[in-house]
Every structure is written in C-alpha cells, then in structure tokens.
Amino acid sequence: MNRKNTLVFVPVVLILALCLCYELTLRPLITQAYVGDAPEWFETAIKFLYPRFEIEKERFDVTFFLSRADQVLYRFTVVSIIFSTVFYLVKTSATFQIKLNDFWNRETSKKNIAVLRVLFYLSLIYIFYDAYTDLILLYNAKAFYKPVLLLRLLHIGYPAHIQSLLIFIGYAGSCLLVVFNVLPVLFSVLSAAFLILVEGLFFSFEKIDHGFAPLTYAALIFPLLLYQVKKTDDEKVNGWPLRLITVCIALVYLMSACEKLLLSGIKGISMESFRLFLHLHNTPLGLIMAKNNLLCTLLPGMALLFQATFVLILFFPRLKVFILSAGITFHVMVYLLFNIGALVHPWVLSYMFFIDWTFIAPAAKKLNINLLR
C-alpha cells in the first residue's frame, strides 16, 4: 500500500471502528446510566465529561441523552474528517502547503504588536478590575463552591481574603508589567495563569460565563507573539500567533452558529422562539421588539447569518469594517434585548486583534508615549 492510500485508509478505519464501538457498547451504556445501572467506570466518565447529567436526567427522558450522544459522534466524525483531509492535503499537495504557509505566516510589525500589547493587557485589567471585591463577596457563599475540573485537579480551594488579595495583585500586577514591557514573555504567561485562576474561581459556582472566552484564548496565545518579538531584531515579525488568535475568535462564532443549527435546526431562529426569549429576558426594549413581527422574524436570522459568516473576515480583509461593525451591533443588541453581557463587551474588545495598529505608532511617538517600545 502506498503512502497516499495509507493516509486515507487509516483515518477511515479508525472513524468506522469508533462508530461501531459506539453503536455496540457506548450507546447501550447511556440507557443503563439513565436508570442508574451502568458500570462504575462509565458513571465516573459521565461525571467527568457531563456533570449536568444528574440534573438533566430529572427533566429529560432517555431519548434526549441518546440524541446528545449521537451528536457527539456526528461532530467527532465530521471534525475528524476535516482534520484528516487537511493532513492528507498537507502531505500530498505542494500547492496546499504553500497556501497553508501563506495563511499562517502573515508578517506583522513590532509596532502593531506593541500597541496590541498595551491595549490587550489594559483590557484584561479593565474586565476584572473588580475581581478582588467580587472574590471577597463570594467568600460568603463558599458553601456553594464546587471547583471546575481544572481547579479540582490542582486541589485549589476557595481563597481566604488575604489569598484573594494576593491573587488580584498577581493578576493586575503581571498585566501592568506587560503593559510597561517588563519581561513581557514571563509576565504574560503569569497573567494568563492568574486570569484562568480568577475565572476558574468565579465559575466554580456551577455557572460559567462565556463572555470572557475570546480574551482568555488570546491571553493563552499572546505570550507566543511576544516571544516572536523577542527573538528577532527585525521590525517585521512572523505573526502566526496573532493569526491563531483571530482564527480562534472566528471559530467561536462559527461554532455558536453550528451549535444552534445542530440542536434546534431552523426552529432555533423562528419568530416564536425569538419572541419567547424576549419575554423571558424581560427588558424594556425587548418587550417593545416582541410586538413587531417583522423584527422578530428578521433579527434571529440575521444574528445566525452574522455568526456563521464572521469567519469570512480571515479570508476577505476588505470585509473587516463591515463584519466588525456588524459584531458590535450584534453584542449591543444582545445586551439591550436580553441584558446579557455589557455595552463594552469582552467579545467586542477582542476585535482589536483584527486591526493593524501600526498607524497609531507615529502619533504615539509624537505624544512621547514610551509604552510602545
């Protein structure tokens, strides 16, 4: 068997084997788990992967969970096929390799990264400027503390007041040091670690706020961008980490759209669903909007279209202004209609990564702003 055939054959066999294994063993185990009759290892796996199972099984029948499990299999199959195809093309097509390298290896200027560094780490301070007071307040409710998996694995309990203060100083301090370009790689890693710790503590009360995710992903990747700056003396830098941040943000929107279509289908954007959500969230503007049939028909479809097509920003830079304006409108509307998020939403702050800030550097120099070193 030649190399090309192996690259096709192996993933296909693996995916088929998994589907067979799921149909013959895992699917029946879900029915058993629903009636509390599954083997211990499977119950443990469910607690680990799907902690809401105990709550949801009181509300839904077994078909709900079987359909969810089927979804996992479908999604896994589709994602595996996409990854395998990309891998196959990388190994077999020189043209594809060149295009892939072109996509990832976009150069960016050190000035752009310097402006982004200042804006991004100031944004991180801004989104959690009140983290210390919130950590202290939540201490009263520590009886409800149920650490997220990562904190559970690290055996991190809810911090006492002094520990909360140290965490906040560590977080804000490391962000500020990156802003002032003091050992930026080291302190950007530290600030990402503290950010995850702070978020982990807030999310350990059984409710996760998804609003900070793009900035968190960016915080995890940004140290690589600062490392790129450090390792070269040239003004131009290989900006692949910046590209990776923008890809992650675009993927988040795309996955949101897919999630809606896969779970609710076209009903998810129906006028009735939208109107019901407006009534449930009960905001003044939302209640006015709920009376308008045309808007209740158009808005959910437009929101889905925006989420599904945001990814175009990666391939058509000319659409940048239009897509980012649509994004700002989308988040402002979500805030006004559903009271979710804020007017200055962290997702909107993450749009800074789509802008080339090189143009700002000369102006900053005139103003003698030394942060942009």
Binding site: N140, F144, E206, H210, E259, F277
Partner: protein, 130 residues
C-alpha cells in the same frame, strides 16, 4: 523543526478550542458556546425560583446579593439543587451564608403557564425550619 513546533501548537490549540463543541460540554478554560442554541420549549425556560424567609410571620423575598452572589448564579444554583433533589441542602447553605435571623426558609418554584409570564403556578418545593 521550528515549523513543525509551530504547526503542532496551532493544531493542539485548534483541537482544544473545538473539543468542547464536539463533546457538548465545557472543559474550562475551553468552553462550549451555545447561547440560545437549545430548543426553547423546555420547562426550565418557563420556570423561576425564589427564596424567601419569615420575619415576624411576614414573608420576605431573599436578595442573593446578601450572600455575595449574583442573582443569575444564585437561581441557577437553586435550579440545579432542586433537580438534584437537594433543595433542603440548598436552603441550609443559603442560611449559613448570611446573618439573617429567621426560623424559616422557603424555596419556591414558579412555573409560567404562558409565554408572556402573565399566569403562573407557585409551589413551595422546600422548607427549612431552624
């Protein structure tokens, strides 16, 4: 070598970002995004929980901020505890989180009969006598 490391980091990051979408669950710090993705006709979206306590035989609605917790999180917890059949445990934890001097705590569940929340059935689902 450097190129391989770069693509290894890119691939690993993308897998981690996509994994919650595939498994339909949050794997903090990597999250699943599904705002308004679930079908709307589920009971959880037509119900509300309220915690109250008695002072001088007068029922007062509890403000979650007194326990240092936001409204959304508090009632999300209430729903979780209720469906896990741990409503009394929830009231005990609430009572221990505040300094309110009361002898009776109640958890109430309101189920709306229509989409506009004009009519509803209210029932006390747990009661804690101290």
């Amino acid at each position: 070598m450097e190129n391989k490391l770069k693509y290894f980091i890119i691939t690993s990051t993308l897998i981690l970002i996509i994994l919650p979408f595939v498994l339909l669950t949050d794997l903090f710090p990597f999250l699943r995004f599904g705002m308004f993705a679930e079908p709307v006709k589920v009971e959880a979206q037509k119900e509300k929980f309220i915690v109250s306590y008695l002072i001088n035989n007068k029922e007062t609605e509890f403000n979650p901020k007194e326990a240092g917790i936001g409204d959304n999180t508090f009632y999300y917890l209430a729903r979780n505890y209720y469906y896990r059949k741990e409503a009394n445990n929830f009231l005990e934890k609430t009572a221990n989180s505040v300094t309110i001097k009361t002898k009776e705590w109640r958890l109430k569940r309101i189920v709306f009969r229509d989409d506009k929340q004009l009519t509803a059935d209210t029932s006390t689902v747990a009661m804690l006598i101290l």
